[in-house]
Every structure is written in structure tokens, then in C-alpha cells.
């Protein structure tokens, strides 16, 4: 009975159990290293939610019961959520098609660079004033980011579909190539040649391409609504369109999809293009809203964090949103925790790793139920369209 109950709610219970386990592991680590986990988590919660003790004082603080809401902290938290929605969504789209896109990191980097390059259009001299219509410019920059990310995603998609090259390896390689290539570009042809600049960064973008903060001094911009809109669009695409159906079919049963006429290779490439485009937009939004130019580390570790988001969210739209909120708020809260309790912020990374490890065990359940053995000799990797997936898929 209890087993049934758990099994029916497993999609919800699994991530919750994973989160709980992750928090417990990190608490143990903190305890062992001489900190008070509860105090640390309380500070983390304040930082993540913006809910602080004490009376409201100063700008951006709204009295709330005995404490107050610090809108700046909340805005920073939400701004940390934004890129994770993008990259979580990107990884989820890939996984829907059965592809493990570890390359969101590189695709985001390329998107950021392309956005920075298109962002300078219309800017003259040293001022950041631009001549383009802001709406047009923002649109252009987003498209450029999406296109660059898509190209960086299509490459492993094609290598997979045409040559059976495992996407995990190829996307890891492309992550490094992206990082190095961009590093080269921002020290050469895309170098910021403002007087006195020594940093490896691109020139400042025209202000017509900026996204402006909602709360003064924070990083919360229109990036969040863009992310939410994209989340809705992609969720609809996956659930309701023929393309989304094909993506799911290829991910869950490439052989069956191929045998029933689904163009498996094309679907693989398309899903990687979509995944890359979403990552690219993530990069664009970061430079448009925060840095206003390409700077090293603009992609942070968002690409890898997106994997955690997608896995925790079980690839669903709402799951990705909740996963992004959790990990984004966690990372943002951890910084606040560090300044207020001296517990180092990387505790959030320990939580994240532990959550991945604990939720990853979901494959146990899925795998066990799937193991209704059919004769192995029926599998034939030579099938023309199914071929691409039969070659050593990592899971």
C-alpha cells in the first residue's frame, strides 16, 4: 500500500527527497567543520527570500510582520533564477530527445559573445548611447544570441546523427573550444579598445540593447519574463506540437519512432538546435541585463547547473521552473549566508551536487520497471534511421 502510494507520487517525492537529502548532507558538512547548520540555513533563507528580521529601514525594504522584505535581496535571488530557467530548459529539451546536452555552458558562452557583438551596433565613440530603436535592438541581440547558441548546439547534433559521436564528449569539447575561442576574440578583434582597458572583454554595448533592472542596483531585468515566456512556449511545443511529439518519441523509443517513420536524425539535430538556442538566449540575457558587454565568466557555471535543474525538475516545464527557483535561490542565499554567518558560500554547491546524486537514483526505478527483457538479438544497430542512437548511448 505504502509502496503504491509512493510510486504514484514518485515524480513529486523524488525531487523533494533529493533536496532534503542534499540539505542534510551539507548540514553534516557544516556541522563537522564547526558551523551551526540551522543558523546558516536561516541566513540562507533570508538571503534567498529577502525576508529579514528587524524593522524595515531604508529604501526597498517593506515591513512584513515582525520583520521586513528586502526587495533587493529578493530581486537578486530572482535574477539568479533567470539563467537557470534557460539552461535547465535547454538541457531538458535535449534530454527529451534522449540527448545529454552537457554543452549548455559553451552554447551560452557563444550566445553571450554574439549578443555582445550585435549589442555594439549603433554605438558611436566612447558613449554607450545607441541610435537603434531599443525594441528592435533588443530583439536583434536576442536573435543573435539564439543563433550563436543554436549553431554551437547543432554541431554535436549533426556529429551524433551522422557519425554516432557521443554528444556528451562532443559537447564537453565544444565547451572548452567556445571558452578559448571567445577568450581569443575578446582580446583581439572583439577587444574593448576603450582607453586604459587591460581586461579581456568586449566593448560596451549600446544602451539601446540593455535590459534594465526592475529594482535599483539589482540584476533583475526583463530577462525573467523572457525566461518564463520561453518556458511556456517550449512546454507547449513539447506537449502539443507534432515536433514536440517527435522529440519525445525519439527520446523514449528511437527505434519505435524510426520504424514508424519519424525522421530520427532530423529530430536529433533539431532538438539540439533548440537546446542550443535557448542556452544562447541565456547568454544574451546575461550580457544585456548585467554586464552590458562580454566579460570572462559571464556564463558562470549556469550550463552545468542547468543539468541539475533539468534532472531535479524531471524535464517538465513546471519542474524546471521549480528546480531553477530552488538552485537559483540557493546560490543567491548562500552569498548572503557567507557575509552574515561566515559559512562559505560553496556550501550551495555541495547541496547541489548531493541533490544531483540523490535524485539521479530515479533511474533506478525507471530502469527496473523497464527491464522487461526482450531478446537482445532483436536489437540491430544497423537500422538506417535508428542507427544514431544505438551506438553506445550513455544510458
Amino acid at each position: 500500500m505504502i509502496r503504491d502510494w509512493i510510486a504514484r507520487r514518485w515524480n513529486v517525492l523524488r525531487p523533494l527527497a533529493g533536496i532534503l537529502s542534499g540539505l542534510i548532507v551539507a548540514a553534516c558538512v557544516m556541522r563537522l567543520t564547526g558551523f551551526q547548520p540551522l543558523a546558516a540555513y536561516a541566513a540562507l533563507w533570508s538571503g534567498a527570500s529577502g525576508l529579514e528580521y528587524g524593522a524595515a529601514s531604508g529604501e526597498g525594504q517593506i515591513a512584513l510582520g515582525s520583520g521586513h522584505l528586502n526587495t533587493f535581496l529578493l530581486a537578486q535571488s530572482l535574477s539568479a533564477v533567470t539563467p537557470l530557467i534557460f539552461t535547465g530548459l535547454a538541457v531538458a529539451v535535449g534530454l527529451r530527445a534522449g540527448l545529454f546536452n552537457v554543452g549548455a555552458q559553451g552554447q551560452m558562452t557563444m550566445g553571450a559573445l554574439a549578443a555582445a557583438a550585435v549589442g555594439v551596433i549603433g554605438r558611436t565613440g566612447l558613449s554607450d548611447a545607441g541610435t537603434l530603436n531599443p525594441a528592435l535592438h533588443v530583439g536583434l541581440v536576442l536573435v543573435a544570441g539564439a543563433a550563436a547558441g543554436a549553431i554551437w548546439g547543432i554541431v554535436p547534433g549533426i556529429l551524433k546523427a551522422a557519425r554516432g559521436v557521443h554528444e556528451v564528449i562532443s559537447t564537453i569539447m565544444l565547451n572548452f573550444i567556445a571558452l578559448d575561442a571567445v577568450q581569443y576574440l575578446v582580446t583581439h578583434s572583439l577587444k574593448d579598445d576603450a582607453p586604459g582597458n587591460q581586461a579581456a572583454q568586449s566593448p560596451i554595448m549600446a544602451s539601446t540593447s540593455w535590459l534594465w533592472p526592475y529594482v535599483n542596483g539589482s540584476n533583475l531585468t526583463a530577462g525573467l519574463p523572457i525566461a518564463l515566456a520561453l518556458l511556456l512556449i517550449v512546454s507547449f511545443m513539447i506537449k502539443r506540437t507534432s515536433l514536440g511529439y517527435q522529440i519525445r518519441a525519439v527520446g523514449l523509443g528511437a527505434d519505435a519512432a524510426g520504424a514508424n517513420g519519424v525522421p530520427v536524425a532530423r529530430v536529433l539535430v533539431t532538438s539540439m538546435a533548440i537546446s542550443g538556442a535557448i542556452s544562447g538566449i541565456a547568454g544574451a540575457v546575461q550580457v544585456m541585463g548585467i554586464h552590458h558587454r562580454y566579460v570572462a565568466g559571464v556564463a558562470g557555471s549556469f550550463g552545468f547547473d542547468g543539468i541539475a535543474v533539468a534532472l531535479l525538475g524531471n524535464l517538465s516545464g513546471i519542474g524546471v521552473l521549480l528546480g531553477a527557483v530552488f538552485f537559483g535561490a540557493l546560490a543567491s542565499g548562500a552569498l548572503y549566508m557567507q557575509t552574515n554567518t561566515n559559512v562559505p558560500a560553496p556550501v550551495s554547491e555541495i547541496v547541489q551536487a548531493a541533490v544531483i546524486i540523490f535524485t539521479g537514483a530515479k533511474y533506478t526505478i525507471a530502469a527496473r520497471t523497464k527491464n522487461i527483457t526482450t531478446a537482445k538479438d532483436d536489437q540491430d544497430p544497423g537500422i538506417v534511421e535508428g542507427r544514431t542512437l544505438a551506438e553506445g548511448a550513455a544510458g
Partner: protein
């Protein structure tokens, strides 16, 4: 004349030293990668294993380098064991498990170094020749292990087809656990080189993708120890050339692109691996059961 010859030989020696310097951790980790992957388990956790080995080697190597070495090896073994159990007992996707371990390693090492060594972590030194010898001996040892021992035969069989191995009377799980644990040990040894052998200090994220490059060497070497060692040397040479170019401020431009730029030279191992994946490495090269779930019939 003479001074020119001197400069040239100095150059060669410098490049040779730098090559070995760059290649040693790659060779060590790549040998670990081979053991894991030949047993059928994808190991992208090499990166985290290197980082952990480097950190614990430094931490425990503050007063005694030997203790540091042992600690590094132990930490690698623990991560290897974890990877084996996650993938084999919990049947976690190998890539998910590997990424999780890498994040764990990054998080734990950053956290601990901030807690205990906010001012930096310095450790005793082990002579690089020790690691160099290990890196020279290990490929041969791994070949012998794989080809000449009972464990090696069973390891290879397990990676090709665990079900066939089981039918022949091999207990698959212990073989794989041992292989991946050894893998962690070798990778951590590579990490220990970074701190104990080379830098004598730990800096965050100092593995800097070496685990992934080691994996690239494994693939480039078609999952064979000598091939992987050669690939690691080649990648080490890329590092060396790059650093020498930088030191001597050498530039080579073609069509406005500065080919000798360190960032561009950095991409060579990745490009080479991608090209190898597309062309040289045939589809038959990887162990047949690599990364696949072992559908245990019993």
C-alpha cells in the same frame, strides 16, 4: 654559432620538460579512465577525482608529503567507489553520476579551502621524478594488467558484454567496482602531482579541465594505454609549445588570426579529439557495453 646551438638545445629541453610536466597528470588520469571505461563504465568523474586528489594531497601533505600522497590516493578511491556504486548498484546514468561527483568535488574543495585555508594552502613537495616514473610505468603496467592477468581479462569481458561474462562465471559487480576504484586512485595520483609534485600549493579548480582532456586522450588512444599515453604526451606538447610561445613572445599570424595565441593553442586537444571521434576512432573502438545499463538477468 655556439650560442645559437645552446639556445636551441635549451629550448628543446625547456619544451621537453614542459611537455612532460603537462602530460604527467594527463597520463595518470587517462590510465584511470582506461580501466573504468574498459570495464564498461563511462568516467567523466576523472575531473573531480583529480581535483580531490590535488586538494587532499595538499591538505594532508602540509607536514609530510608521503601522508599527502596516501590521502590523495584514498580520496580518489572513495570517489571511484562512489561512482561504481552509484552506477552499478543504483543504476544511475553514468554521465549524471560523473557530473554529480565533479560538482561535489568542486564544492567540497572550495568549501574546505575557504573554511580552513582562507590564506592559501601550501604543502611539502614530492620530487616530480616520482610522478614521472609512475606515469612512465603505469601505461605498461595497465597493458600487462589488462592482457596478462585474470582480473584484466575479466575486466575487459565485463566491458564488452557483462551478460556473456556472467554466463561464463564471472562476478561482474566486484570486477567493475575494483576497476572504477583503481580509476579513482590513478586520477587522484594525477591530482596529487599538481599540488605535491608541481605547485606545492592548492588553488581552487586547479584541475582546470584536465580530467576531460585525459578522457579525450583515452578516446584518442582508442581505449588503449599506449595510445592514450601518446595522446597525453601530444596534449602536453601543446601546453608546452603554448607556454614557450608566450614566454618568448612568439607570434604567428595567418589571415589576421594570431595562430600562436595561447587561447587558440588551448583548443587543439579538443579539436584533435573531435576530429578523432569523427574520423579515426571507428565505431568499433569503444568497449561494446560502455555506458550501457547492465540488464542483470538474475
Amino acid at each position: 654559432m655556439g650560442s645559437l646551438a645552446n639556445i636551441q638545445s635549451f629550448w628543446l629541453i625547456a619544451i621537453l620538460v614542459a611537455t612532460l610536466n603537462g602530460a604527467v597528470p594527463l597520463v595518470l588520469a587517462a590510465m584511470g579512465g582506461i580501466l573504468s571505461e574498459r570495464s564498461g563504465i563511462v568516467n567523466i568523474a576523472l575531473e573531480g577525482m583529480i581535483l580531490t586528489g590535488a586538494f587532499f594531497g595538499a591538505w594532508c601533505g602540509q607536514s609530510s608529503a608521503a601522508v599527502g600522497l596516501v590521502a590523495a590516493i584514498a580520496s580518489g578511491a572513495v570517489l571511484g567507489l562512489l561512482h561504481a556504486l552509484l552506477t552499478q548498484k543504483l543504476r544511475m546514468n553514468h554521465v549524471v553520476s560523473g557530473l554529480g561527483i565533479n560538482m561535489l568535488a568542486a564544492g567540497v574543495t572550495r568549501y574546505l579551502s575557504l573554511v580552513y585555508f582562507p590564506g592559501g594552502l601550501e604543502c611539502k613537495a614530492i620530487r616530480p621524478i616520482f610522478f614521472l616514473t609512475a606515469a612512465a610505468v603505469l601505461p605498461v603496467a595497465v597493458v600487462l594488467l589488462l592482457k596478462r592477468t585474470r582480473f584484466g581479462l575479466r575486466l575487459r569481458a565485463t566491458g564488452e558484454n557483462p551478460e556473456s561474462a556472467r554466463m561464463a562465471g564471472v562476478r561482474v559487480l566486484p570486477v567493475r567496482v575494483a576497476a572504477v576504484t583503481l580509476s579513482g586512485i590513478f586520477a587522484a595520483l594525477g591530482g596529487a602531482y599538481l599540488t605535491l609534485g608541481e605547485e606545492h600549493t592548492f588553488s581552487r579548480d586547479m584541475s582546470a579541465g584536465k580530467g576531460y582532456i585525459a578522457l579525450a586522450a583515452v578516446i584518442f588512444g582508442k581505449w588503449n594505454p599506449p595510445g592514450a599515453a601518446v595522446a597525453a604526451l601530444l596534449f602536453g606538447l601543446f601546453y608546452a609549445v603554448q607556454s614557450q610561445m608566450q614566454i618568448h613572445n612568439l607570434n604567428l599570424h595567418i589571415g589576421g588570426v594570431e595562430l600562436t595565441n595561447p587561447a587558440l593553442l588551448d583548443t587543439l586537444p579538443y579539436f584533435v579529439t573531435l576530429i578523432a571521434l569523427v574520423s579515426v576512432v571507428g565505431k568499433s573502438a569503444p568497449p561494446a557495453a560502455l555506458g550501457q545499463e547492465d540488464t542483470d538477468a538474475s
